[in-house]
Symmetry: C2
Subunit: 207 residues, 2 copies
Amino acid sequence: MEVKDNSSMEVLILEAAEKLFLEKGFASTSTTEIAREVGCNQALVHYYYRTKENLFNLIFEKKFRQFFQYIFNIENLDQMSFQDKLKRIIESHFDMVRQNPRVPLLIVNEFSRNPEMVAILKEKLKDVVAKLFEGLNTDLEAEITAGRIRQITLIDLIFSTISLNISLFLLLPVASEIMSMDEKQREFVINHRREENVKLIMNSLRV
Amino acid sequence: MEVKDNSSMEVLILEAAEKLFLEKGFASTSTTEIAREVGCNQALVHYYYRTKENLFNLIFEKKFRQFFQYIFNIENLDQMSFQDKLKRIIESHFDMVRQNPRVPLLIVNEFSRNPEMVAILKEKLKDVVAKLFEGLNTDLEAEITAGRIRQITLIDLIFSTISLNISLFLLLPVASEIMSMDEKQREFVINHRREENVKLIMNSLRV
DNA sequence: CGTTTAATTAATAGAGTTATTAAATATTAT
DNA sequence: ATAATATTTAATAACTCTATTAATTAAACG
């Protein structure tokens, strides 16, 4: 039960829904609860977004795009060496996940609930992803040919990056409970793992 | 709607529940659906397990233990070098996750639903985990002192291992959809990433 | 065999869910 | 200010879900 804002209800509902869907997932969040969070009538949620599924899809699509497009917004990537580019990509990706620590879980869960959704979004991202991959891949191959990097595929590098970065935030709640960490320790671990993840990937390039 | 087995209903219900909870999570699985899967009356689920929560906790606890104890069952770990031990642990952990690809998601999701559960199970695993850590840590420190391994903590090594291994199976459904992989390609990727994960960690030890 | 106990089902209370509809209130435009 | 439109709410239909109870069927036992 929140105090009503002067912002539009339509937006407030979207924001509350985003918060709750990220916190508790699709199935455990009801439109009744979203309305309660906003402080409005439950029917209003349906007035603006018709169905819960609709509302969820809007949020999911936004988050999914954000998650995959973030990398492409890194500035001044052109004039760097491959190694520097890669380092910046890993760090940027890490920072993005840090700011959206529950998005990976949302995506993974949504996929098992509704696999078609990803198929739909895939089409929309195809070009953007392909473009980045192309550029980086050229650089990578040049480095390999020059013998400065071991034989490795770009896909593997990206996969390792995503794996290491997202798992930290997936596992941290569980790990910090098991290891009884306080907020300060968690903060330390996050910063430490940011460096460690970069080291891991960069080290894996060595011949 | 399945054909009734001659196995006991109690067990069949547990098995069906395990299957469904792993597939769809706690909130999206109903006792009605579990009963339908077994082919019995819905009240029977409650007759044997009283509440859905109860039934879930039984399964969760089993899976959680399995997940954390697997490592300790590796045989002939004693007479190996630290590097060989580590390699075996990474591979064993990978194989365990491969056999239970949905367990990590179950654990992560359950934690955000009910953080106390992990706190409870933590106590029960404390000793076992501490014991393994102690042994490995002695080895690791000896290697570092001897200058054969860079300065790194055991926690980091374990964390990286778990991260890389579980993410593969978390991301594979999404990734294989995005990249339109068939079963054969998925199989190839899994075997390839098994090796790649070992390489990544072992490489990260280099001075 | 009959009787006690266990397994299974039908029925249902009670709560919560999504989504719609009609009525009430607020806003905007003429 | 009045009509037209947009926003918001109350009420409710139609489900589904969990959990319990009483009744029925099957198994075990003396």
